[in-house]
């Protein structure tokens, strides 16, 4: 945990009544890259974000932003952080522009700055054409993007997303993730939590796993995969598709977990080269051939399962 990190949490403990939500948690969030926090529901992700923002005061420990104590400098921290929520924290009865103007004023922005900033954020979240539309009349995706726009109106240095893709369809999720990536590219530090681990994995440069109020692991997605799994996933498709006969043979060749998913057969193995060589030989004997093959590392879900299981 270096002093040069953007945000440092040191030995943070937070209780709600008798329930310890964060237990002597320590975490460093680097300056660069999207930072993801994974964890089961109720594990303390949102509490952690609220403490990072200075929204909650921890019972014990210190939170600092750029070496400045967050708890003691709330006024400064409010200007630095933006927060986008799952539900969308805007007024449905105000137009997109009115929401942005209102929150800009609440962030002490001068009128001229707001005027300049509104087109910028609307372009970023692709809501230029909806400037005068009532927020309540926006589609779910647009509403979520307006919330992000509101959280960015004051040009924060750090933008926190708490489950940003919740309740969105896959297409909207993909668009939103792309947008978050763009925000990161523009130089705003992004911290994100999501239960959709596959998506978080795609955009995050660093991932932290929180479990039982503690950070149990932290690192890049690949590093975590390497750390928690030695197996690789092999996916094949044969011409004949006679997988019932193939499964016992594959297990014999060292496949640990074999299952069919659609027209593909998936298997886990620590020795994919050896398995594939044996499989090709077997198929040749049976006058069958491989139509498709893919060897990959296991998903982040599996990493998460492995990490939390320990």
């Amino acid at each position: 945990m270096g002093k040069g990190d953007l945000i440092c949490l040191e030995n943070i403990t937070k209780r709600f009544g008798k329930h310890v939500v964060l237990d002597n948690l320590s975490l460093s969030i680097p300056h660069h890259g999207i930072f993801g926090i994974m964890g089961l529901s109720g594990c303390g992700k949102t509490t952690l974000l609220n403490i990072i923002m200075g929204f909650w005061k921890p019972e014990k420990g210190r939170v600092s932003y750029n070496s400045i104590n967050i708890v003691d400098n709330q006024h400064l921290i409010h200007q630095v952080f933006g927060f986008a929520t799952q539900e969308g924290s805007v007024y449905p009865k105000l137009t997109v522009e009115e929401n942005l103007t209102y929150f800009g004023k609440m962030y002490n922005m001068p009128k001229q700055d707001i005027k300049t900033r509104i087109p910028e954020v609307l372009k970023l979240v692709e809501l230029e054409d909806a400037q005068n539309v009532m927020a309540g009349e926006l589609s779910t995706g647009m509403y979520r993007r307006l919330d992000i726009a509101c959280s960015m109106i004051h040009n924060p240095k750090v933008l926190i997303f708490d489950e940003p893709t919740g309740n969105l369809d896959p297409v909207l999720r993909k668009k939103l993730m792309a947008m978050i990536k763009r925000i990161d590219d523009q130089g705003t530090k992004v911290i994100i939590t999501s239960h959709l681990l596959g998506e978080i994995e795609k955009i995050c440069d660093t991932l932290a796993v929180i479990h039982h109020g503690k950070i149990i692991t932290i690192g890049s997605p690949d590093a975590l995969k390497d750390k928690y799994t030695t197996d690789q996933v092999v996916r094949i498709e044969t011409k004949k598709g006679d997988y019932d006969t193939l499964v016992p043979i594959l297990k014999k060749y060292g496949a640990k977990k074999v299952f069919q998913k659609g027209k593909y057969l998936h298997m886990y193995t620590s020795t994919p080269e050896k398995l594939l060589a044996s499989l090709l030989a077997y198929l040749k004997n049976k006058s069958d051939t491989l139509v498709d093959i893919e060897v990959s590392k296991p998903s982040i879900e599996e990493v998460f399962e492995a990490a939390t299981r320990r």
């Binding site: 609220n50 927060f83 924290s89 007024y91 002490n108 924060p156």
Partner: protein
């Protein structure tokens, strides 16, 4: 000094002392620092946002802005009168008389709908079932005579507390008017008789005086006659006949008078004796008669004396009667019929119910509108996700609270202004000052109820519970006021507590201003009390908002 400048100075100071310079490195580009906006400008945006939210929510706008105006308009239409309309009066009598018919006629000729029912039970049931507001039961053959039992029974539904008293007093007053007219006739008759008696007595007294005079004259005459009779002398000396006879004899003897002479002489003497005896006899008879007359006169005198005594008694009685008649100081019929009259003098000059009920209606409106509007605004804001975003902006909770309060106050000012303007049109004789003072008072009262509503909004977590709590609070305040039951019906200790009910204070204030035209000095004390209540509530709101922010965070 800005935060970043202060931070740089701190770092420079550390560099000079060469302490911990390497261990702490700030990247000043990672800070965003803005000058704080003018709080008034922020307030403008807060209020503007709140008003937009309210107006764009059509239902809220209708309920909170136009609802009270509509209610006031309807109330003004309904109560801008000094009479009771459409009161149904059921009447019954075993046998109607001219008098009962006259009363019935009198009632139906005014604003009452009078219907004669067949039985007393029907009459009472009509009131029980609410078809009629009052039932009058006349005694059979009601008339004005000594044997009459002229008690008219009035049945009213006492469960309708206010209207029951109003109706019974109105009906009683109508009947009293009829009874007064009848009493006036009777008393006039009595007074006329008394006047005649007085005149006759005066005349009798004159005759009595004449009788006194006659009696005195009579007594005087009797006395004079008695005196005259007493003066009569009936005494006489009797002549000695034997001496005359002896002398005659002597003369005869001595003078040798002839016998003839002697006989003549003796005849003469005998005649004289006879006349003398006759005179004596008549004198005795006269004396006897005079004695009798004297006795009669004495009796007559006694009788005259007795008559005089009786006349004295009669005169005394007449004097007493005349003194009694003269002692009757009140001879005016109206004063005898109603020697003590109550005249209810209104403290205000209005002849409309509207002005009487106006303070209550205004406070009622302000209370419910303020309570519901502010509590609803707070719970809407609190349950809105935007509440969270507001909480993470560098805008103080106090400013947010003031913004909420001023937003509600703006709407309230609009309503109060509109209502008072309309009322000024109808009651402009009250003067501008009264309406300005009423406006200020209403805003102070409104502030209290807005604060109360805000507190409720922060204390409860759902719209339903907030609405329920706001309405319940309003009802409790309303119940312990003069509107439903007179406060005088409460125990002394309860009354002392209830007198601090803001509804009661506000109602009293408005009555003083609108009905009794009191100036600012007369209403300062209650306004100060309300101000203290507002301050206490504001502290409560700050605490409740802090608590509710923590709740939102924990969610």
């Amino acid at each position: 000094m800005s935060f970043i400048t202060a931070l740089k100075e701190k770092m420079d100071a550390r560099a000079e002392t060469k302490k911990n310079v390497d261990s702490i490195k700030y990247n000043y580009d990672l800070f965003v620092e803005r000058e704080g906006l003018n709080p008034l400008l922020k307030l403008y945006y807060l209020i503007s946002k709140n008003l937009k939210l309210l107006i764009r929510s059509k239902t809220s706008a209708l309920v909170f802005i136009f609802g009270p105006l509509l209610i006031t308009f309807l109330v003004a239409l309904a109560f801008n009168t000094s009479t009771l309309f459409d009161l149904n009066v059921a009447v019954y009598s075993d046998s109607y008389s001219t008098l009962s018919d006259s009363i019935t006629q009198n009632l139906s000729s005014t604003q009452y709908n009078v219907l004669k029912l067949d039985t007393e039970e029907d009459c009472i049931d009509a009131v029980k079932f609410g078809d009629f507001q009052v039932c009058l039961v006349f005694p059979p053959n009601m008339a004005l005579d000594n044997s009459a039992n002229n008690v008219i029974k009035i049945y009213v539904d006492n469960s309708r507390l206010n209207i029951a008293n109003l109706i019974s007093s109105q009906i009683s007053s109508k009947v009293t008017v009829e009874a007064s007219a009848l009493s006036a006739d009777i008393v006039t008759q009595i007074l006329t008789t008394l006047d005649t008696a007085n005149t006759e007595t005066v005349q009798s007294q004159e005759q009595l005086t004449s009788l006194f005079t006659s009696n005195s004259a009579l007594q005087s005459s009797i006395s004079s006659i008695s005196s005259s009779l007493n003066n009569l002398d009936f005494t006489y000396s009797t002549a000695n006949a034997s001496a005359i006879d002896d002398e005659i004899t002597n003369l005869q003897t001595s003078k040798n008078l002839s016998d003839e002479a002697v006989a003549t002489l003796e005849d003469l003497v005998g005649g004289m004796k006879s006349a003398y005896a006759g005179a004596i006899s008549k004198l005795d008879t006269a004396k006897s008669s005079v004695e009798d007359s004297k006795s009669s006169i004495s009796s007559l005198s006694a009788s005259a004396q007795a008559d005089k005594q009786r006349l004295d008694t009669v005169q005394e009685n007449i004097n007493i009667v005349m003194q009694s008649i003269d002692g009757v100081k009140i001879t005016n019929v109206a004063n005898i019929v109603a020697p003590l009259r109550t005249s209810i003098e209104p403290l205000s000059s209005s002849n409309s119910y509207l002005l009487y009920i106006l303070p209550t209606i205004l406070i009622l409106l302000i209370m419910f509108v303020s309570l519901l509007m502010s509590s609803s605004a707070i719970i809407t804001e609190k349950t809105s996700r935007a509440f969270f975003r507001n909480s993470i902006t560098p805008t103080s909770s106090l400013l947010m609270l003031v913004g909420e309060y001023l937003s509600n106050l703006c709407i309230l000012m609009f309503q109060v202004g509109a209502i008072l303007s309309v009322l000024f049109y109808f009651f402009n004789d009250l003067g501008v000052n009264a309406f300005v003072l009423a406006g200020i008072t209403l805003l102070v009262i409104g502030t209290f109820f807005i604060f109360l509503g805000m507190l409720i909004g922060y204390l409860f977590n759902t719209k339903q519970t907030v609405t329920l709590a706001a309405i319940s609070t309003g009802i409790v305040l309303l119940f312990f006021s003069n509107t439903i039951l007179p406060l005088e019906t409460l125990s002394k200790s309860s009354r002392a507590i209830v007198s601090y009910n803001p509804f009661v204070i506000g109602e009293g204030l408005l009555k003083k201003i609108l009905l009794f035209s009191l100036n600012i000095t007369g209403v300062v004390e209650p306004l100060v009390i309300l101000g203290i209540f507002c301050a206490i509530l504001f502290v409560g709101i700050i605490a409740a908002r802090r608590f509710s922010q923590q709740s939102v965070r924990s969610e």
